[in-house]
């Protein structure tokens, strides 16, 4: 990670977040089962040093959906969910790097820039149906792979964490 770029990215993200403003400050406490916890350099949060989200909170954010081919399915599938950047904004995240942690403790680093550059979706639904753990759910980070050749590479496939449980903002 080129550290020289880090301050710039942080600033950009801060600006981005400032634009969405009050939402970050007033994060409600989750009512259902917590499916995603964001920790690290974030806003006030709604738990001890964390921002916890249940499925309803994620589905309350603006939803996006697109169909894309992936290495994990034989055909293109439709993914639906909030944009990663909206989720991060809701948590008041201000870091340059995201560490995505899956249920099985799979960890991968994602530059926070990706969330801004691409329409990365935190998919909650596959073909409009909620995803079970066995179907790589309940949360799946999906890049819009069909948008660009660059995205169809091992680098981005590896960042596409499924069975996502936690995001650590650094």
């Amino acid at each position: 990670m080129p550290s020289a770029h880090a301050p710039a990215r942080r600033l950009l993200l801060a600006l981005l977040l400032a634009a969405t403003g009050p939402a970050a400050l007033a994060l409600d406490a989750p009512k259902g089962k917590v499916v995603l916890s964001i920790s690290g350099k974030i806003g006030p949060g709604n738990a001890a040093g964390r921002a916890d989200f249940d499925m309803a909170m994620l589905e309350a954010l603006p939803q996006h959906s697109f169909a894309t081919s992936t290495p994990w399915f034989k055909v293109a599938r439709k993914f639906t969910g909030p944009l990663l950047r909206d989720v991060l904004a809701a948590a008041g995240a201000q870091g340059a790097t995201l560490v995505a942690v899956a249920l099985n403790d799979y960890k991968v680093e994602i530059p926070a820039e990706d969330a801004r550059k691409f329409k990365v979706v935190l998919a909650t639904r596959l073909d409009d149906k909620p995803m079970a753990v066995r179907e790589k759910g309940p949360l799946f980070i999906i890049y819009p792979y069909d948008d660009s050749d660059d995205l169809r590479s091992e680098r981005y496939y590896s960042r596409s964490a499924w069975q996502l449980r936690k995001i650590e903002v650094r």
Binding site: P71, N104, Y157
Partner: protein
């Protein structure tokens, strides 16, 4: 590459010969070009293969298969741990159930559809997967996410028991996958290596081809360059040859023209001498011989004039100069010229001018007269009895063979002479051909007249046609289109000034500018005899004043003069406003060099006459320029010496008082310093006349200005009126080399004009070489000059000129 001789080949290959070798380079080029295309295609194919290989790798390795098996095993172990922990510490089953789900979610990632085409596992894979599927199916109800409630320890134990035999096969699968993938990576690396090697080979091949291509191209280029150089050389040689041929032809024409011109001078002299001789007392035989000699000389002169015209026509130096002319008057002139010869043969001479013929037309009078005179002379010559007629009428106005504007005119010369048959007529306009050999002998003539006439007619935009019947006569028709002109004045020519438009024409107002009094006197006599008014000026500055005072019709301008020379004077004159700035100027010079001619034309002079000036040249020039006015002078009485004298006060305040002060005394020169008496007793050698005198020039002068005129100017020269001889002698005596050139030049010009050959030659030598003379040379030259002056005087006295 072909051998080194190749590049010299195309040079010699100008003849249709070795075709094979000519298209060989093309063949090579074609082959190399095709090779290059194939090499490029092969390289492109290899690279495409590499790209697709890499893309395939990316696709299939998306979620690495080995990683999948590893994860499967890992999750299997996680699940087992969770189950064991639950067995030891019974509690909530959430953790176990999530692990079960995670393990279950891993199974499809290593399923047959994912593995297919990547690794050949064989039936063991199927069996293991089936066993795992069975395990999941068996425990789904209790361990699955959908299940709720506590998990009985018996179920946990059962699950653990079921798992025990599965661990080894799962591990095996991971190992097999790892090996298979490693193998595949190795294979792929081999393929990539092979392709890269192939690519390198192709690149080398391609480079070689490119090199060959470049070499061939360079050779072709060199060949082309050589060929172009050769062509350029050939073109240059052709150009040079053409220039040489043209120059040779030009030189011949010029030589012919010059020779004709030069020949006329002595001939004129001869004619003059013959004329003089006729005045002496002769017996009948002598008179007869003399007449024959004159006829021969006259014929020779005609011939020379014709040759001069022909050579001028051929070298394109004959210009037609149209001016306003009085056509009926010109026709009358022709008629009167012919009257005598017609009358002497007893022929009737008729001139019929149709009323529609305009009086004033724009034409070159001299040349038109020359054509008509030639046709009329022929008619008279070939007619023994009957009549010769000149009929002038209007031709067809819309005659398309006559381009341009103006009156279409027809000049018909008709005779009742011997006529011609068809064959004769065909040869008629050819050079040196007369009717036939017998007519030639019988009638004489140059045989050039008709050719010249037709050439002149064509130069004027017209033509001559002939119709004839043998023994009945001939009919020559000259057709011309002549524009009408305002009466008495051609466009662009100076308007005649008031006093001289009166009914008795007084000739032209001519200004002669020359620093040498003898030359001035000579020109004045010559021009006055032609009936013109002459003003004199001694240098350019005086000439400028004279022109300012009254613009003359024409200026004769010497080139070498003190104070302001002819070139400077011309430049100054041309700077004046019209009409003074446009006065025609004739250069007079003893230099006959071409560059002198160019120089005088460059400063704005209009004509060029070389000294000694010929009377007929001046006449021709004036006729060309002024047409009828040039001959419209009062044919005054034979000029007496007194009248011939340029006593008429010049309007010019010449800076040198000697200019107007030319003595007017009759021939016996005023108190000549030379003793006249010894001349009479002196002995002369036979060659003295030829050595000292140019009888041609002297004869010419006598013809031009009459004997008394010549005597007058000769007296002036030998009396050294100008002081130029004394000045030259003084310079020689004091060996003042700086002055020699200029002073000798003055003497040379005058001596040349007088026909004093030896003096002219000596002065010319002094002029040329004086700057390098030693004191002895100067003394010798002075002595020679004095002796030559004495000899010339003595000779001329003996001959009766003095």
């Amino acid at each position: 590459m072909p051998p080194a001789t190749a590049h010299s080949r195309p040079v010699t290959e100008t003849t249709p010969g070795p075709r094979r070798s000519r298209w060989r380079p093309n063949h090579w080029l074609l082959a190399i070009g095709m090779g290059l295309v194939l090499a490029f295609a092969a390289i492109a194919w290899v690279q495409w293969r590499q790209v697709s290989l890499l893309s395939g790798t990316v696709r299939y390795e998306g979620d690495n298969l080995v990683w999948g098996f590893y994860q499967l095993e890992s999750e299997f172990l996680h699940l087992r741990d969770q189950l064991r922990r639950l067995q030891l510490q019974p509690g909530p089953a959430d953790g176990v159930r999530q692990r079960f789900e995670l393990f279950a979610s891993r199974l499809p990632l290593v399923g047959p559809d994912r593995v297919e085409g990547l690794v050949e596992f064989g039936p063991q894979h199927q069996r293991t997967l089936q066993a795992l599927q069975d395990f999941i199916g068996q425990h789904e109800a209790q361990l699955g996410e959908a299940a709720t409630g506590p998990l009985p320890p018996a179920r946990v134990a059962a699950a653990l028991a079921d798992m025990a035999p599965l661990l080894a096969p799962i591990h095996d699968l991971a190992l097999i996958a790892n090996q298979a993938i490693a193998e595949q990576v190795g294979l792929r690396n081999d393929a990539v290596r092979d392709q890269i090697r192939l690519g390198i080979g192709l690149t080398i091949f391609q480079s070689l081809l490119t090199l060959a291509f470049a070499l061939l191209t360079a050779r072709q280029f060199r060949t082309l360059l050589g060929r172009r150089r050769e062509l350029e050389r050939v073109a240059e040689r052709l150009h040079e040859a053409r220039a040489e041929a043209e120059a040779a032809s030009q030189a011949k024409s010029a030589f012919l023209a010059n020779m004709s011109h030069e020949l006329r001078t002595p001939l004129n002299g001869m004619l003059g001498m013959l004329a003089l001789l006729e005045t002496s007392r002769l017996d009948d035989d002598q008179a007869d011989h003399l007449r024959t000699a004159r006829q021969s000389a006259t014929h020779l002169l005609d011939l020379l004039n014709d040759i001069l015209d022909i050579s001028k026509l051929e070298s394109g130096r004959l210009d037609i100069v149209p001016h306003a002319l009085d056509l009926p008057r010109l026709l009358q002139d022709v008629r009167s010229l012919m009257a005598l010869s017609a009358a002497s043969k007893g022929l009737t001479l008729q001139l019929v001018v149709a009323p529609e013929v305009p009086q004033w037309v724009l034409a070159d009078g001299m040349r038109l007269k020359q054509i008509l005179f030639n046709l009329m002379s022929n008619a008279v010559k070939f007619t023994e009895h009957g009549e010769v007629a000149l009929e002038v009428g209007a031709g067809q106005a819309d005659d398309e063979t006559l381009p341009g504007d103006g009156h279409a005119l027809r000049f018909v010369v008709r005779d009742t002479g011997i006529g011609m048959d068809e064959a004769m007529r065909a040869r008629l306009f050819q050079r040196f051909s007369q009717g036939d050999a017998s007519t030639s002998r019988r009638y004489g003539g140059t045989g050039l007249g008709l050719e010249i006439s037709r050439s002149l007619a064509r130069l004027m935009g017209g033509d001559i046609a002939v119709a004839s019947v043998p023994d009945q006569g001939s009919r020559f028709t000259l057709r011309l289109r002549l524009p009408a002109a305002a009466a008495g004045r051609a466009p662009g020519q100076p308007a005649p000034r008031g006093p001289r438009t009166g009914s008795p024409p007084v000739g032209l107002d001519l200004l002669v500018v020359d620093d040498h009094p003898v030359n001035r006197k000579f020109m004045a006599i010559l021009l006055r005899r032609m009936g013109h008014q002459v003003r004199l000026a001694a240098d350019g500055l005086a000439a400028l004043g004279a022109v300012r005072q009254q613009v003359p019709d024409l200026v004769f301008m010497d080139l070498h003069m003190p104070v302001m020379d002819g070139l400077q004077a011309t430049l100054a004159l041309r700077a004046l406003p019209a009409p003074a700035g446009q006065v025609p100027i004739v250069a007079l010079t003893a230099d006959a060099f071409a560059d002198t001619r160019q120089r005088v034309m460059a400063v704005g002079m209009n004509f060029f006459l070389s000294k000694p000036v010929q009377a007929d040249d001046i006449e021709a020039l004036l006729a060309d320029r002024f047409g009828a006015r040039a001959t419209g002078a009062p044919p005054g009485p034979p000029p007496s010496p007194a009248e011939a004298d340029p006593q008429v006060p010049t309007a010019v305040a010449a800076p040198h008082q000697d200019a107007p002060a030319v003595p007017l005394n009759p021939p016996p020169a005023p108190a000549s310093p030379a003793p006249a008496a010894p001349g009479a007793r002196r002995r002369f050698r036979a060659s003295d006349v030829a050595t000292h005198l140019d009888m041609g020039v002297i004869g010419d002068l006598c013809v031009g200005v009459t004997l008394s005129g010549y005597r007058s100017v000769l007296g002036g020269f030998l009396g050294d009126e100008s002081g130029s001889q004394a000045a030259l002698l003084a310079a020689l005596d004091s060996a003042d080399l700086a002055l020699l050139r200029e002073r000798a030049h003055a003497v040379k010009g005058a001596a040349a004009s007088m026909g004093l050959r030896a003096i002219q030659a000596l002065a010319w030598r002094i002029e040329r070489e004086g700057a390098t003379f030693s004191a002895d040379d100067c003394q010798a030259a002075a002595a020679t000059l004095r002796a030559d002056l004495d000899t010339a005087r003595g000779l001329l006295q003996r001959m009766g000129f003095l």
